[in-house]
């Protein structure tokens, strides 16, 4: 299944790009995604926190991804 990953703020610097495609197997969860991303981009471990959003909503680690999902890396926010 193909998903699109968007990285924001400092996480964009850490993964080296703002957007990229990701091929994931059936049954792939947010927990697996998080583990794979931090393995591939170890600098993400330096973050105070890293939330994952799927299709514009904060996602629990147990959520299963679906074809075409938009994944967003959300480092600590600092709006206002």
């Amino acid at each position: 299944m193909k998903c699109r990953v968007k990285a924001f703020g400092i996480s964009r610097d850490m993964v080296g790009q703002g957007e990229f495609d990701l091929d994931v197997p059936e049954g792939y969860t947010v927990a697996l995604l998080r583990a794979d991303l931090t393995r591939k981009f170890p600098r993400l471990r330096n973050l105070r926190s890293l939330f994952i959003a799927i299709n514009n909503e904060y996602a629990q680690d147990s959520l299963t991804l679906a074809e075409g999902d938009e994944i967003a890396l959300i480092p600590p926010v600092s709006g206002g």
Partner: protein, 143 residues
């Protein structure tokens, strides 16, 4: 009204969006760019936003505020892009029959926005730059 904009915020428009004849109070919060951080001079700030999710999250916050307090109107406008010290980064207006509710709801909205809405700012100093609240101590990039 929810607005994410690269242009200067028109505060009057944010206030007008909440107008109601039943209102006895309109509470307004204006966030501005401070010229110092960590004892250093801030030259400018870069605001970045995941817009589709930011709008959805602000909508949730406003819905929750309307659920908790008897509001007549609420509006949020957040600026993104490059902002210099003194410029307005966010404006929030809340109207309600009575002032206590408008104060409390406005505080709830800005506090929750800062906690949950996917917007990020990077401080640009004279000698480097830093994403705010991102990491413990590492990876600050100074020239």
């Amino acid at each position: 009204m929810i607005k994410i904009t690269e242009k200067p915020i028109d505060i009057q428009k944010v206030i007008d969006a909440t107008s109601s004849l039943g209102a006895g109070a309109v509470n307004v919060f204006i966030g501005t760019v401070r010229n110092t951080a960590h004892g250093k001079n801030v030259v400018w700030l870069e605001y970045e936003c995941y817009e589709s999710m930011a709008v959805a999250e602000i909508r949730k916050i406003m819905d929750e505020a309307s659920h908790r307090w008897p509001l007549l109107g609420a509006a949020v406008s957040h600026r993104v892009g490059t902002l210099k010290p003194g410029e307005v980064s966010v404006a929030i207006a809340v109207s309600a029959p009575h002032r206590k509710d408008s104060f409390e709801a406005c505080k709830y909205i800005i506090d929750t926005l800062k906690e949950k809405v996917p917007i990020w700012k990077k401080e640009i100093f004279e000698d480097g730059e830093e994403w705010i609240s991102a990491q413990p101590n590492m990876e600050k990039s100074y020239n």
